[in-house]
Amino acid sequence: MKVSTRGRYGLRLLVDLAEHGSDQPVALSQVAGRQDLSEKYLQQVALLLTRGGYLVSVKGAGGGYLLSKTPEQILIYDVFDLLEGNISFVEMPQKEETAIQRCLRIHFFEKLDEKVKETFDGVTLADVTKAEWFTYII
C-alpha cells in the first residue's frame, strides 16, 4: 500500500489551512508557496475535499478556501479514505480464492485493516497540528 500524491497533498492542504486559516479564505497560491506544492494539483485536491464536505470555496477577489468544520471535527482516517478512495490492504476475494488466500485474507489482511483503523481512531486534524501530539505517539 502506497499513499498517493492526492492523499499526501490533500492532508498537507488541510494541515496548512488548519495552521494558517482564520475566518478569511486562504488562496491556494499561498498554500502552494508555503508547502512547496504545485498549485494546479492543489486545485484538483481542493475540489475533491470541497465535494467531500471538508472545504468551502469562496469565489472572487480575496477568495480561496476555508475549512468547513473545526480541525477538532475532522477525522484523519475519514479524509484519508476520501482522498485515497479505499485505504484497505484487503482485496476483494477473486472468484477462485485458494485456501491460502482465504486464510491470509481473514487472518492477516482484514486484521491489519482493523489495526490501522484503530490506530487512527479519534485522531483529528487538530491533533496533527498540535506539536506535542507527535511526542506522545512516539
Binding site: R8, D36, A99, I100, H107, K111, T119, F134
Partner: protein
C-alpha cells in the same frame, strides 16, 4: 505459509499447486527468502524447500520479499522535520510494521490447517 504446514521438503511444483503461484515466480521469490534465512533448500530426489525457523514473522517475510514498508516517498524529503503531515505517515507505517511483527507465519499456518480439517474451504 504453505511451507510451514509441510513436514519435510516441498518441491516447487507442490508449492505451486497449493498456492496457485507459478513455479517461475516461486523460484524468484525463494531467492530473497533464502538470502534472509527464512527458507532452506536441499538438492536431490528428496530435495525441495522447507521453512528455516518456526518463529518467522510476517514482517520478516514481507521485508525480504518487498523491502521495508514505506507508505510514502518522504524518506528523502528535506521538509520532514517541519511537515506535520509527516507524523500521519509515521503513524501509519508504525501501525503496519508493529502488526506484521506480531503475526507469526506459524500462527497463520495453524489457521490454515484448522480450516482444512474443518472442511471450511
Amino acid at each position: 505459509m504453505y511451507l510451514a504446514t509441510c513436514r519435510g521438503n516441498c518441491s516447487i511444483r507442490a508449492i505451486s499447486d497449493a498456492t496457485g503461484i507459478s513455479s517461475g515466480y516461486l523460484e524468484q521469490l525463494m531467492i530473497p527468502l533464502k538470502k534472509f534465512g527464512l527458507v532452506e533448500s536441499e538438492r536431490g530426489v528428496q530435495g525441495g524447500y522447507r521453512i528455516a525457523r518456526k518463529d518467522i514473522t510476517c514482517s520478516e517475510v514481507l521485508s525480504a520479499s518487498e523491502g521495508e514498508f514505506t507508505p510514502t516517498p518522504c524518506q528523502d524529503c528535506k521538509q520532514s522535520d517541519a511537515c506535520k503531515a509527516h507524523q500521519i505517515w509515521s503513524m501509519l507505517q508504525d501501525s503496519v510494521v508493529d502488526y506484521t511483527q506480531q503475526v507469526l507465519i506459524s500462527t497463520l499456518a495453524a489457521h490454515l490447517v484448522e480450516a482444512e480439517a474443518g472442511g471450511g474451504i
